[in-house]
Symmetry: C2
Subunit: 317 residues, 2 copies
């Protein structure tokens, strides 16, 4: 059997796996990404990962046909190189991923933005299976996005499409980390939720230690009918509803897939977001739009990277 | 020479033309669309238009290969039928454009949303020539939009993509005609500009007759350094900047083309919008994004319809 390597580079770990053309994982591993170290160190971790997986493939008498890599940042899909910098990997700017791995191993390599490969995994094997036009959102400490149009990942002219966290939902609103005002991300990330909840508590003279607060805590309080927590979640859903509706009014997808830590609050949260999207969407779109939870969980990145490797290899051969 | 028929159905006129595969107009005509009349009457106007153009083609000993039609509303591109209703043509709901014309004339026909065919014309022959990823906006009494991704018109799953007027730029903001709050359209159409200007005047105890006010008047006043007019235009540019940035952050285009009545205010207005877009866009996108005026003017619709006919005919043959 011919196999593919998928690598998912994150701020904490480099996850890597051997998989088949269907995106099924044969073996998966993980090691610290050493994200604060030099570009050379990060590449050396990737080299070790590939060597380990090559050894595993040889043991099984399988051939490795290609490598797929997901990384934070905008990545030029043709050259497989980062276009600029990325905040959590300070020395990873302009990293020539494709070139470095191809020169080292003489195996065809493709690199893409991590949110794109997660969307690819959901599209092919997760909540987006059977759909052609897909919007994926990942709600966590930031907001990631991936879009598929007619089964293809939408990368955009500057490989920066689907920057869903930075659509403006509140003209002249709250300052975002990106420097602009009113971005979706400034209202709906986990830290934004916690900050808003904390503010409400303070207004009533209450306060938890901010370090103890997280979105799980807020969802738990809400499940016990705590008014401020319920309010915080309702506002978040309204903001997300406006944002998702805006994006849907532009690309008109079949399905919106919501993943990431915050989405683990469960189906009632997704349902609440859906109700808000219905308020804001153009009728023709909303009538048949599905809003669902992501299904691929923590494996989305490596499965997407394996699929990236497999699909591009078969396109080329 | 083989020719194509293009028809552009509007609330006032039905424009129609004979053109070649390059979208060059051979002859163009116009008649009242009788938009308030029955579906039958509107189709009869189309029949007369086609008969006239067929006669013109025969005179020239040319053959008509296919027909393209642009119409307001969401149109199922496969069936060539309106999906719902459209405000300016009250009896045009569910109109089976493709079927009716093909049965009458036995000539292959394609129908598409009018903003899509205008975007197609700009993309192939106007301000978008040479670009693959394009966002078109038409600023008038409403806001129309068309998007091309990799040279193809983005129609969306429910044929309702590029509803650019209804992205939310101000969460919980001004009520839009669509029923939602905070839509781009509620802030940036010609009537919205006039209303805002009038309000400013009133606040100072001044007032023009609202029927005399229009955007031309406001731009003229601004050119004479009238503060309230300058303010009105500056606000409009800010709103448009936020909206265009939002859309660009999703689809990451090469060029944004701005057309419609309001855009006739000229290049300084476009430049002012561009400055605002720069405030709100993700850096990677904005660095190389061009914002330009539309070039096709009033012919955009019929040229787009001719191209729709020609491109789909050649795809099929």
């Amino acid at each position: 059997m011919d196999l593919f390597i998928g690598m998912d580079l994150g701020g904490t770990n480099l996850k890597y796996a051997l998989g088949n053309e269907n995106g099924e994982i044969i073996i998966k591993k993980s090691r610290p990404s050493q994200a604060n170290q030099s570009q050379k160190t990060i590449f050396e971790n990737m080299f070790i990962a590939v060597e380990e997986l090559k050894a595993e493939a040889e043991k099984r008498k399988n051939k490795i046909l290609s490598i797929g890599v997901g990384s934070p940042g905008s990545i030029d899909f043709e050259t497989g190189q980062l276009k600029g910098s990325t905040p959590n990997l300070p020395n990873w700017a302009k990293a020539p991923i494709k070139k470095t791995l191809e020169e080292k191993f003489n195996i065809s390599t493709w690199a893409d933005n991590d949110a794109n490969i997660m969307a690819l995994a959901e599209a092919r094997l997760g909540a987006g299976k059977g759909y052609k036009n897909i919007l994926c959102l990942t709600l966590g400490t930031g907001i990631g996005g991936g879009i598929l149009i007619d089964n293809q990942v939408l990368r955009g002219e500057h490989y920066s499409a689907a920057e869903v966290g930075h659509i403006i939902i509140a003209y002249n609103g709250i300052r975002c980390n990106c420097g602009n005002k009113g971005c979706l991300e400034a209202y709906t990330t986990a830290p934004a939720m916690v900050k808003r909840y904390q503010k409400k508590l303070k207004r009533l003279g209450l306060a938890y230690n901010i370090n103890e607060l997280n979105t799980e805590f807020i969802f738990q309080k809400a499940s016990r009918n705590e008014g401020l927590a319920i309010e915080t979640i309702a506002e978040t859903c309204e903001y997300l509803g406006a944002g998702i509706a805006s994006i849907s009014n532009i690309i008109d997808p079949e399905v919106v897939i919501i993943g990431g830590g915050v989405s683990e609050a469960g189906d009632p949260f997704i349902k609440q977001i859906e109700n808000e999207v219905r308020q804001y969407s153009v009728k023709a779109i909303m009538q048949n739009l599905k809003i669902v939870r992501a299904q691929m969980g923590n494996d989305a990145g490596i499965v997407g990277a394996i699929l990236l490797a497999a699909e591009n290899y078969s396109d080329d051969n």
